[in-house]
């Protein structure tokens, strides 16, 4: 009897899935074994991927092809390895500083150009008659107003600089309304995020349940 490798992997997947599902009954050895196995396999796979797809393709091959520019990252990588030694860890600081500085620059630049400007432009586009020519202009304006109010109210909620005028009087009415509106929009956002997380979890459960049932059905047949 010839056993297909796909069947073997199907059985292994089925068993591991049951082990993970056993956590519904509480923490047990099966769940721990499955978790440990996942972590170990992932770490080993990560190492293999780093060696074959990073070191060989981006370091060894260019060096063998005579690329002297590759010596620079090689030198910096060597300095980073010195971080392991307490005495020589200072030598790795320049490379670490380069990494942190470049990463921060890329992140900040992307945030400003991609998110800040992009979102402002997107909020204004609701009130652009040319951009809204394809749809109902009134509907777009209403949608834009909701966007604008939601944005301002959320910002007002996180603005903690509003102070009470006098003792017992509380905030001004406009600030109070903005804060309340901000709370509403934040609650809606968090509810949507929670619904998305719940939906994702339910989908994963359905996918695994379908896999188990399908596997059992295929085995039975």
């Amino acid at each position: 009897m010839r056993i297909d490798s796909e069947v073997i992997w199907l059985v292994i997947s089925f068993i591991l899935t049951l082990m993970v599902f056993s956590y519904l009954l509480g923490d047990n050895a099966f769940f721990r074994f499955a978790s440990g196995l996942l972590i170990g396999v992932a770490a080993g796979y990560f190492t293999v991927v780093i060696i074959y797809q990073v070191l060989i393709t981006r370091l060894v091959v260019p060096l063998m092809q005579g690329s002297t520019l590759t010596l620079v990252p090689l030198f910096l990588s060597g300095l980073l390895l010195l971080k392991l030694s307490p005495r020589l860890s200072q030598l790795g600081s320049p490379a670490m500083a380069l990494l942190v500085g470049v990463g921060a620059a890329v992140a900040v630049g992307g945030t400003v150009l991609g998110t800040l400007f992009g979102q402002v432009k997107g909020a204004l586009s609701f009130f652009d008659p040319i951009a809204g020519a394809s749809g109902s202009m009134a509907l777009r304006i209403v949608e834009g107003i909701i966007f604008l109010v939601g944005t301002l109210a959320t910002l007002a909620y996180f603005h903690f600089g509003a102070r009470e005028r006098r003792k017992g009087e509380g905030r001004r009415r406009l600030a109070t309304i903005s804060v309340v509106l901000g709370k509403v929009f934040i609650a809606i956002t968090l509810g949507a995020v929670f619904a998305g997380v719940l939906t994702a979890a339910i989908t994963a459960l359905i996918e695994r349940s379908d896999f188990i049932i399908t596997t059992i059905m295929s085995m039975v047949r």
């Binding site: 923490d27 074959y52 981006r58 956002t189 995020v193 994702a200 339910i202 996918e207």
Partner: protein
Amino acid sequence: MADIRCLICNRVNDSSAEHCWYCNTILPKPTGPLTQKEREKLANLKKKISGAPNPDPEPHGDAPQETPPESPAEEEVPDWLARIRRLKQAEDQGQPSGKPDWIEEEQPDWLAKLSQPAAEDTPNPHDAANRVAESKKPALDESLRIRNLPRETDEEQEFITNLLKPTPPIGEEDSANSSNGQLEPLQEDRVDDQSGQEFPAPEGPNDEDFLDVEDLLSDKENVRSDQETVQESESAVSVPTGKDLPFPLFVDNLPDWLSTEETETKQPQDTGDDEDDFAGEIPERKIEKGRLPAWLQSLRPGVTGSIEKISSETASIMEDHGVLAGIAGTLPGADLSGRVLKTGDFTQELRVSAAQQKNAELFQSLLQPTREPKAVSADQNTAAPSEKLLRLFITILILLAVITPILAPGISAIIPVLFPTEVVNTLGTVQTLPTEKPVLVSAHFEAGLAGELNWASQPVLKHLVTRGVPLALTSTNVVGFAILQDMVTQAISGDPAYAKDKKVMDLGYLPGGAIGMGALVNDPLGTLPFTTDLQPVREHPSLGSLNSLSDFGALIILTDNPEFARTWVEQVDGGEADLPLLAVVSAQAAPLLHPYFASGQINGYVAGMSGALYYEMLTMRAGSATARFSAYQLSLLLVAVLIFAGGVVSLILAAPRPAKKKEAG
């Protein structure tokens, strides 16, 4: 001008100073020129003392005034002075002379001039006293040595020195300029300022004839002899004592406390013996230590001897060894050669204060190894049995809601009739992609949500495969890279016409996170030069014309993390690349990704199982999402009901009870 020595701190101050620079005590003002009356009194006094006037007792051999003594007219002599003169003449006639022999022997010519009757000269009585003391110094020393009188203290001598130090009259500028320090060089070499002619010093006593004032006053016998002489003259002349005497010359300038002290010390003046009487005239007893205020006593230097005495003592000492050998005037150190020091008895017991003990305990606690963290066992379920049953019941309900639609295909789902814009736009974008350009698929997700992403991405990938669009796969995390290959393989499996080897390029793992993304946007070939088979990307048939990111037909992001999607959007939107950006994301990332779609930064996205269902419906290809959508709807409905019911129950249970409120109140 002569300096003024402070009565309190005994330090020298400038003559123009009114207060002592060191202790702020009011300084005695230099006495002005004596009045005619006072001069006459002093002249008579001198006459009574020795029968000869005294020269100017400048301490450093100052030249006497060359101006001839003015002889007052006979008619200006008061009655009392005339009476004194008459008595003097009677004494002279009756007694040859009251002066001792040594006075005659040592009396110089200038002194003989001054020994004329008082009508001829009106010298300063202060000077008279000094000169008498100088002239009588050897004999007085000898006589007092014989008497063996008790010596006064150094402090008293210092005080007397300060008091009897002659001060030049303010009105007599010429004589003042020729006194003290300014006169000394002139005495040695007197040159007329106008003619430059050297002229001899005026006749008068030599330096040897005068005693140094300090020497004179440092010796008690000299002063005492003066006192006796003056006392005799007072008794003879009946000159009123006290305020009429030239001393103290600075009564008005004395502080209040010292003035008061003066009046008090005058009481025993009348009843005491001769010495006390003289002491009443010279107020050396007026500033006794015990009478001074406490604050002044504390300010006074504790040195019993004067600086001059110390310096005179040290000047005679010459070092005979050490680095100062051969140098005189050094301060001698204490002779410790014969001094035996014993160390104190120190016990070996360690004395620790309470604060030190506390710090030591704190330090010890810091040095102790930290407690090993206890492994938190998941078996430690502290929930009540009823709660366990509730959890189990809810779990069974959800499993039934999931499994029942799968096992019973007859349970149909409610199919939506409206399609979200993002899915429609995604479909339209994929549908219009050019088939010659590859689509870059970038994955970044964890294994836990691989099933959801697999279901969500399959419609899109199948659509691309159906259209024959080449695919370039990459991943910014290792797990995503592994699963992405399986997803593509699964999508291709349904279309055997799609040549995987030619149209699918596995570019491998893209390290660096946001930096790697930015590098890929700017330089795709430099960032991903090789495929996982170590083949150059440029040699691949589908990527032969690849130079920038715009050469890709589109960028499709597969992720369960909204941050990853946002980073891709930022890098692509901020770069120069111009290509459609699509996303296949988990349902949990959809709310945070939608603003980027609303702003037009993302052309479209498919989120979760519902998005896959919409895409399958639009492409009219039923897939896993369509098959399991009933289970999806039922389980979500059940979960929503459970959440609502749990909220209501929690609201009821958490409501405050009126009875408890009353008790609390």
